[in-house]
Subunit: 333 residues, 2 copies
């Protein structure tokens, strides 16, 4: 890794500055071949406090004028409201990476971004992160290497943002978090090469820590949570009531992780098990790190003239590293 | 996965028919988009018994005449004698995949194969398998995603062919096998996110099962084995003497596997751990499965006009799967 002169660094634009945006800023600092050239926000730019001194902050409306000043945008908004609009719109003008994670809508999102990127001669990579992202890669490779087999994805132990939000909407709840936990027995079966048919309940359980509003009926809250359709009713769910202080002290981190396990046979007697696991202290910071590595790959694909929408399935792994192909072969192969 | 008419199947040539070659033949049978079009051997073709009825067996000297009849050769010879000769020679005429695994000689092997493949307009992928191969990919991705971190590779529990051969050359030894075993304590430290400096001895231990020749001095054999420079002297090595019957009964399989663990920090407080693990009942059959998936990718790269020598670092993962890019995005992303 030779240090690049400032002028040849990959210029990253961060679009949205919540947990993920801050994670991207931190991750770029670990990558000597890139720099944050601007942060773009819908809030008042004067109110934002970037981690790095001297990082310019702009209002979102100033983004179009920055064409030519930014090599890759990293979109740090949500999959529900932000990315379905932003990614196709910005791909017309910029190379970009997003972490769109609504699995069922990926084909539609891909089509919209691809049309914009093809028309604009840009390169846009969607759905980077760990799931979708690293877990997807491992599902694909597991299936390709062991066609006669079965794939299992387990999530957790980790804090689920969506389920925590659902808890907080329950009447009588002041605050709360939810952890998704893989069922140990199921994990052991799968790791041992068994290929069990597992129900939703048999794969994961859910643990909730809830702060009640003054005067709320704890048992009524508990019943509402565990019976919530889709979110909790198909799982074994435990609800623990704690104080606001304990919640702040013990449950403000955002750990997550999980496992993709492929188990298959290459012949009757030979069972083969591939396991990929993540143990993350900070879910947004790890997702951000993945986005940053794929931003490098997007920049290179653009330079190679490979335009249009891409996913992690389309990227030669070597493009993720700042090191040369010859160095990678000598040191890591 | 729609079934392809016989004529559009990828035609695989297997070069060398030992454990790995047989594994390739078995793996191709699990992949409906390819077929074994020929097995090539230095032995008498009439003496070979392929697993599949009707698979043609040829002498090695008949290979050049098969140009145009084979889409990809899978080279199943050894890294010491066979591949350094065969891969560059055959790459002049054929697309191919090999499992060249002498890490220190990969750059030279790459250069020789690349020159031949560039001149011949063929596509050749070297050093596929699990290490080099899947483990290399995970070393690369771990480093790219978590630049501020450390990577650890542990091998085993598994039978090491090279170390078993070394044991069998000791005077007084009739037969024997050696297992490489990761040291549990080191694994736990690394998994917990520690980044210990581990000596060779602290990472792996070695377990030998030896059948003595009649009249051999057990203690002398033990001392020769455990003191063998490079192979055993830097490890804690145990030697157990067993009967030829027990060796045949308990130690004729070829299990292997191991772990690549990357542990890194994305910020001061946030530790992230990525772990990739393999638990293989049959080392040669799994290696063969990797070679077969990469043979598919080589065939597609060739069709895309991407000639020259490649490694696993250069292959977009989607090319490993028989499924279309749209299907993969919808089902696995």
């Amino acid at each position: 890794m030779t240090s690049s002169p400032e002028t040849s660094l990959i210029r990253i634009g961060i679009v949205g500055y919540g947990n993920l945006g801050r994670g991207v800023e931190a991750a770029v600092a670990h990558n000597p071949d890139m720099r944050v050239a601007g942060i773009f926000t819908r809030r008042d730019p004067a109110q934002l406090r970037p981690l790095g001194a001297g990082v310019p902050v702009y209002g979102m409306e100033q983004l179009p004028a920055q064409q030519g000043q930014l090599d890759v945008l990293i979109l740090c908004g949500g999959s529900k409201e932000d990315l379905p609009q932003q990614s196709p719109q910005l791909a017309a003008q910029f190379c970009l990476v997003d972490s769109f994670d609504t699995h069922a809508r990926i084909p539609a999102h891909f089509a919209a971004v691809d049309a914009a990127a093809q028309a604009g001669n840009t390169t846009a990579l969607i759905s980077a992160g760990w799931d979708p992202g690293m877990f997807s890669l491992n599902r694909l490779m597991g299936e390709a290497l062991l066609p006669n087999g079965a794939t299992y994805t387990f999530w957790g132990k980790g804090l689920s943002q969506g389920h925590s939000d659902a808890i907080r909407r329950v009447p009588g709840v002041a605050a709360g978090v939810q952890y998704t936990i893989p069922v140990d027995e199921a994990m052991q079966q799968v790791r041992a090469g068994g290929r069990p048919d597992l129900s939703t309940r048999e794969k994961h359980r859910r643990e909730c820590f809830v702060v009640l509003q003054p005067g709320a009926d704890a048992e009524a809250v508990r019943r509402t949570i565990v019976g919530m359709p889709h979110y909790f009713d198909q799982y074994d769910t435990s609800v623990q009531f704690i104080s606001a202080e304990e919640l702040a002290r013990e449950h403000s981190a955002m750990p997550h992780g999980g496992f993709v396990i492929r188990s298959g046979n290459t012949s009757e007697g030979a069972q083969q098990v591939i396991e990929y696991g993540l143990k993350l202290d900070s879910n947004p910071e790890f997702t951000a790190s993945v986005l940053v590595a794929y931003a490098r790959a997007v920049h290179r694909l653009q330079q190679l003239g490979q335009h249009g929408c891409k996913t992690v399935f389309d990227v030669p792994p070597g493009l993720l590293s700042p090191r040369s192909a010859a160095e990678l072969r000598a040191d890591l192969l």
